[in-house]
């Protein structure tokens, strides 16, 4: 049973942020987190503000240097859009790993980020693109780097009454490919025990031109592996994979919970980091070289 609430369907952002200014109002997009919590009685807001009908928040827009994912864009839409774009494959694969087809048809990418559970699949992939979020409240709007958006488990930098309008990704240099590797108990409908997102650029000689690795579910927030830029210029080889795997495993801060132990998670970070990098190289038509 869902407790009664007053339901608002604003047609424009200005109206939505006015409504969200009321303390008792809760924003709902796809509702796959909000309604589950309301069904379980964990949440009973006096009012729901449904933003899914606001035209300005719909869809995915490609600009010259950026891609803008509207707050109402679903995982299904992201999968369709990024389907044949190797540089955005990490997003498509992460969205494709969320829940079930039924969930992906209504759940949004922005909702995934705002929910901000450490296992949320879109966290690390979004960080690969030096992304920022466009936020708005009744007091105006601001731009925030995605890396500053996540402040802890289920905690974000959103101020009371503030909402995400869109996610703005920086287009990666040409010749990049990305991938998302998720490890969970089942393929469908299970949260990640570990998720690794990677983006790699390689030149004709298989030397690295860019390298970014992001991790989900192994720290209080999604994180980027530090120091990857120092590997630019090195050849994509097995020893480079080992080095990246070590860096990622050292930098993660997993916890032990009912889903997995910290040590297991740390080991899997190494395994999945290599796998994600190999998949990027394969998408670029390159093999990972044996070391001489």
């Amino acid at each position: 049973m869902i407790e009664p609430f007053v339901y608002y369907t604003p047609a424009a952002v200005a109206e939505a942020v006015q409504l969200l200014g009321q303390r008792s109002a809760k924003l709902i997009a796809g509702g796959t987190d909000v309604l589950v919590q309301m069904q379980e009685g964990l949440l009973s807001p006096e009012a729901l503000v449904d933003i899914s009908g606001i035209d300005a928040l719909k869809g995915i827009r490609e600009e010259t240097e950026h891609v803008v994912i509207g707050a109402a864009a679903t995982h299904h839409e992201v999968m369709e859009w990024a389907h044949n774009l190797p540089q955005y494959a990490a997003l498509a694969e992460a969205s494709g790993s969320v829940g079930t087809p039924q969930v992906r048809n209504i759940a949004t990418v922005a909702g995934n980020l705002c929910n901000a559970v450490p296992s949320a699949d879109l966290g690390a992939p979004v960080l690969l693109y030096n992304s920022s979020l466009t936020l708005a409240s009744a007091n105006g709007s601001r731009q925030l780097p995605a890396i500053e958006f996540f402040t802890g488990p289920k905690k974000t930098a959103l101020l009371p009454g503030e909402m995400v309008l869109s996610i703005r990704l920086t287009a990666p240099p040409v010749g990049c490919a990305s991938a998302y590797c998720k490890h969970g108990p089942r393929k469908a409908s299970d949260l990640a025990m570990v998720g690794v997102a990677a983006m790699v650029g390689l030149d004709d000689n298989s030397a690295v031109t860019s390298l970014v690795i992001g991790l989900n579910a192994v720290a209080p927030t999604p994180i980027l592996v530090q120091g990857c830029e120092q590997l630019v210029g090195q050849v994509m080889s097995l020893s480079l994979l080992d080095r990246c795997a070590r860096m990622a495993a050292q930098q993660c801060r997993p916890i032990t919970d009912y889903r997995a132990g910290a040590e297991y998670r740390r080991d899997m970070v190494g395994v999945l980091t290599k796998r994600a990098l190999e998949r990027c190289a394969a998408k670029l038509g390159k093999e990972v070289r044996e070391d001489g």
Binding site: E3, T32, L35, V36, E40, I106, A188
Partner: protein, 162 residues
């Protein structure tokens, strides 16, 4: 209590009614429209027993507010048969033994129906992906995959569509 007036179609039939905003689409279908083919399993998006098509796409009716059905077209398992004639998916499920208790079947059929709209020759992996949001505790799935492939054959080869 907050209410909304909505108009929408279910299985081709137009409805206009007033619903409380805290009702789910599942409760609207089952309790108000008495279309009890769609099942309640978990109420949390996990099992898929409540799967219906909303504007052609499978959704969990337990995770959709009834008011969201406004101006949409809903297809439920009751809308599959053509009068007294079962849909080829339904016939294939029976012939291939793709159901035992049958509780998951309406949801399975709806997800399979959506798959076949876009893919006339699905392989086992594609069927598994399309049905990943539908749990079955009885059959072990292989017979369901077989039934979906059989239905695809009946639907898309015999009259030379594909």
């Amino acid at each position: 209590m907050d209410e909304r007036h909505i108009s929408f179609k279910v299985n081709g039939e137009a409805y206009a009614l007033t619903v409380a905003t805290n009702r789910t689409l599942l409760s609207l279908l089952r309790d108000t429209l008495k279309l009890t083919g769609t099942k309640y399993g978990c109420g949390e998006g996990e099992c898929g027993a409540c799967t219906v098509l909303m504007d052609g796409r499978p959704v969990n009716a337990c995770l959709v507010l009834a008011v969201k059905a406004d101006k949409s077209e809903i297809l439920t398992v009751e809308g599959l048969a053509d009068g007294g004639k079962l849909h080829p998916l339904q016939t294939a499920f029976i012939e291939k033994g793709a159901l035992q208790c049958g509780y998951c079947t309406p949801g399975m059929l709806m997800s399979a129906y959506a798959l076949l709209q876009g893919n006339h020759r699905p392989n086992d992996a594609e069927i598994a992906d399309a049905l990943a949001g539908n749990l079955c505790r009885c059959t072990g799935y292989q017979k369901i995959y077989d039934a979906v492939k059989e239905a695809a054959k009946v639907l898309y080869t015999e009259d030379g569509n594909d």
